[in-house]
Symmetry: C2
Subunit: 343 residues, 2 copies
């Protein structure tokens, strides 16, 4: 069987290539009868339409959106919050016939993807900062989420305000506070943060969350210093458990712990319970994200619900509509059994 191309099919049917092209792409450029006949015969031949790769070379559009992640793909898809975000993105893209290409945030550059995508969504600051550079230089449209690059439009929630309110509504006068942060500094270690400089709040969502906690704590007259602050590099079991153990073995033991993710909170509670502590009786635990698992968990988590799916959908819509306006999305606080709300 001969290779099926626009040209070969045109020959076969005895019409010009443009006519076939129009039959598929511009219905009103030829008679309905002729068009249907052509489509009919193409189907018989097994020709499913113009080659999309060739078309994209000519048109300059591929119908593919690149989603640049903060971390590797393998890490990201296992993160509940990121998955929910991807979910929202894909819903919008599927509805608009666009394809989704996942791009690792650990890669060196965008060379292998840049010519295949119409634009980028960038979810969180890529661990390989070369990518930030590459994204600032690309001629394709870019929407950032949870952080900013230059003047590209972005989607965010107000992390400072969320954390501020969270503390305000949960803190008690005599609390001993601990905070477990996520990627507050550039390291692969689970540790407290003493003298090293933290990542800039513009880039770091965690840093903004910390600012929110601190503001509320200081307003509430609580003494909080960096002896009570831990940071883990990735939102996974091993790091979370290690941090939990450190926090729980610290003297004086905290009475309330603010975790920068629900997953951290879940592991913290598990560790606390294994030590015979009761939650919220002995120690109250607060999460962040509003994941499904946090609500399935027992006790279910007090947390910030940030609707990552809507975030994803918004970002995708912005990209497709070429919107230039950044968006600040609402969040809600959920008070579960892991930490009651103040009266």
């Amino acid at each position: 069987m001969k290779k099926l191309t626009l040209k070969s099919v045109a020959e076969e049917l005895g019409v010009s290539t443009a006519t076939i092209s129009n039959a598929f792409n511009k219905p009103n450029q030829l008679s309905k009868a002729k068009r249907l006949e052509i489509l009919q015969r193409c189907e018989e031949l097994g020709y499913t339409g113009p080659n999309k790769a060739a078309r994209s070379l000519r048109r300059g559009k591929t119908g593919i959106v690149g989603l640049v992640l903060a971390n590797s793909i393998s890490y990201t898809v296992n993160d509940a919050v990121a998955s929910t975000f991807i979910s929202g993105v894909s819903q919008c893209l599927e509805a608009n016939g666009q394809q989704l290409l996942l791009v690792s945030g650990a890669g060196d550059d965008l060379n292998n993807v840049n010519d295949f995508v119409d634009g980028y969504l960038c979810y969180g600051s890529p661990t390989n900062t070369n990518l930030i550079d590459a994204l600032s230089k690309t001629t394709k449209p870019v929407i950032t989420v949870d952080f900013n690059i230059g003047d590209y439009p972005s989607v965010n929630i107000d992390n400072i305000e969320a954390c501020y309110q969270l503390v305000k509504q949960t803190i008690r006068e005599d609390d001993v506070v601990a905070v477990i942060g996520l990627r507050l500094i550039e390291t692969q270690l689970t540790c407290r943060i003493y003298d090293v400089p933290m990542i800039d709040p513009v880039t770091s969502i965690s840093r903004r969350r910390l600012l929110g906690y601190e503001k509320a704590l200081s307003e509430s007259g609580i003494d909080f210093n960096y002896e009570q602050l831990w940071s883990i590099p990735e939102n996974i079991e091993s790091f979370a458990v290690r941090a939990a153990k450190e926090v729980l073995s610290n003297q004086p033991c905290p009475t309330i712990v603010y975790c920068m993710s629900d997953l951290i909170a879940v592991y913290f509670i598990r560790e606390a319970m294994e030590m015979g502590l009761s939650v919220p009786g002995d120690i109250r635990v607060v999460g962040f994200d509003g994941t499904n698992e946090g609500q399935r968990f027992h006790p279910n988590l007090t947390t910030v619900v940030q609707n990552s799916d809507i975030k994803g959908e918004r970002a995708a819509v912005m990209l497709l509509e070429q919107s230039k306006e950044s968006q600040l999305l609402p969040f809600t606080l959920h008070f579960g059994d892991s930490c009651p709300r103040n009266a």
Copy 2:
């Protein structure tokens, strides 16, 4: 600034286009000195190398792998097992400089992706059966996972054997059994399965699991019939909870429940506990998959650990190596607190 193409850059540097192309693609076609000089000057100009889309048109390779999912992308990325699979796939692809394009299993055809990918991984039978058709017709290589299409090589675990062993090692003589299946029939309902025909075992992983349960139950002299069999259409909370409630309100109440996913098991336990039943005291619960959450959960689950990440990696390797040999991967049984192992 002029548009940067191979041609324009060649003009600028006063050499032929082939030379630039060779500098990037075929180092030994020109002197090292010249090559370095060219690359150097290209970098100054901001030319990052030949356009990949154009190259792919010429070469017939894009460096993109299409991962066709069983369901929509938005559903799939939120499923722990599928995410782990994707994780394994992406690890292999990242290591080999290949890109990952996610393809919904709910789409009508592959027309919008086929010309952009070098081959397909297909994870589970797509809900839109048109895709099975499209996959059987494509000229690109295809690897299927957890099911089969024609003679394409596939990756599987032995679901029948896994479930057989699981039952053998957990069942007791006087047990009343219930099974909660996942997509045993083509419907959007949570229901028992009476007269309707179930999906073919070749296509349906769940069907094979059921065969394994049944074999062991009958060997153990347990009376099991389809009054004790439920099926839910998707692995999500709403369906799982509904099935759990139905099972728990059934008379006689089962003493052991085999769930075809860990997620179903987790929700089942939650419902059971809310009704004041103890697990495993009043009712034993068995999952399937070996998800992290199942192990974080309290009581942690007795389940089949199927190492989805390795599955993904294997499948990706097979695609890249153009292997024609199907693989059957090992599984392990994990006995947690939700259902003890027989003595």
